[in-house]
Symmetry: C2
């Protein structure tokens, strides 16, 4: 556990409190007032370093516990420890804290340590990457969709592959989180192969990098060709269903209204 | 088309503009600054009457085109007509405008009428019901999930039933939008039957009514019993997967971290 700012002592201010806060895609314009308020109230902000960095001046005058990737458990344990001492803690995730974020882990640790009755918890929802990316692409999520993470760090690849196959069979629009990283290199092309078993190569595919953040990049391609795009760990991939169309510069999955 | 406020004339102010705005679950605390700003800039606000009503004073001094349920097409056509005249229009949906909201329809109409190059469009994402409900329940969406609407107004029931079955087979957490209404009475129990073919009756099920709005109600039940809860058209239903647990008062789908 590395600390980015000096400790300011163990103030004990009565009952501890943890806010688990979804920051939205990244810009202050997409962060809800409830999230802003939860951060303002917090004495300690805990999170993955790049997400804490997104907050900029909002963390001035606060203690910051920022850790690196794969340190999720330590981060949440530290948050619970601080709250048990009576501090007001905000645990931050980008997007929505309940979607592949920190909310589940904090609740598990609170329960495991028998602190779930003594520490007050608030979960503040945020704009998740699926909807931020969809808004940048047009309206690809107007009909039923499945959200699947391609990270096989905590989930066996067989489970992920089976979900990709069933979602493709069900003609769900498919949103891929964590599609690629420096070490996650082959999963996206395997996902493409699986989905191509059930869906046309011409199916529209949208890729949004840095959705809702400065430097946002948006591409609309198709299932045959999208692997040539520069997908990385900051990208969200949305694969259309059989109804999805490209209308001008937008990707749209019509809901079935008669026009 | 019914108008809730008198027309204020056809001001033509150059290029028309449409913001398609997700209001979030309902309270001002969960509406993003970008949504608030888009509404502030708009001359005309178009939406389903109850959602426009949620905005309260934010629509004072604006022209309001509020229509009833099932009038989505008329509403979006009117929005495009106004923008074609050069007005600044905000089309509002509760939650996220791109998830079973108005975004797709507006883009389709713009394209059909050849206005997609002349009218500027901005899509403002919001906090969708799935994440607002999840935050009220704990952290049920920490792993892959499927979002399915039980409304068979525009989608054949066979398609919905097939998606329910495949999502259940894939061990997706399942989020049900539009689970029930005065006329939609049998679909939820049919969904229960389908999911029970693949999932234990003890599977945790969460129901949130008025998620994120005043009077929010939250219940945690199980797949065998949840039909006894007062689910209605203001409710979101989240059906856990094989890993979902009830931890104290929270519903949590662990992501697989070792604790």
């Amino acid at each position: 556990m590395q600390e980015d700012s000096p400790k300011r002592g163990n103030r004990s201010l009565g009952q501890g409190h943890i806010s688990i806060v979804g920051l939205g895609p990244g810009g202050p314009q997409d962060m809800t007032p409830r999230a802003t308020e939860a951060l303002a109230q917090a004495e300690v902000v805990v999170g993955y370093r790049p997400y804490v960095a997104l907050l900029g001046e909002m963390t001035t005058s606060k203690e910051v516990v920022a850790t690196g990737m794969t340190k999720e458990v330590e981060r949440c344990q530290e948050a619970v420890r601080r709250a048990a001492r009576g501090q007001k803690v905000a645990v931050v995730s980008s997007g929505d804290a309940g979607i592949y974020g920190m909310a589940g882990l904090v609740l598990q640790i609170l329960h495991q340590e028998g602190q779930d009755r003594t520490i007050e918890v608030e979960i503040v929802p945020g704009v998740t990457a699926a909807t931020a990316a969809a808004a940048a692409l047009g309206a690809p999520l107007m009909h039923d969709f499945a959200v699947i993470s391609l990270s096989d760090r905590l989930t066996p690849w067989e489970t992920i592959a089976r979900r990709l196959s069933l979602a493709a069979q069900g003609d769900f629009v498919i949103v891929l989180y964590n599609p690629k990283s420096q070490s996650r290199t082959w999963q996206l092309s395997r996902a493409q192969e699986i989905i191509l078993q059930y869906r046309s190569p011409a199916t529209p595919v949208g890729v949004v990098r840095r959705a809702g953040r400065p430097g946002q990049q948006v591409w609309i391609s198709d299932l045959a060709s999208f692997l040539s795009l520069p997908v990385d760990m900051l990208s969200t991939v949305i694969i259309g269903n059989s109804q999805t169309q490209i209308l001008g510069k937008w990707m749209v999955t019509p809901r079935g209204y008669e026009l």
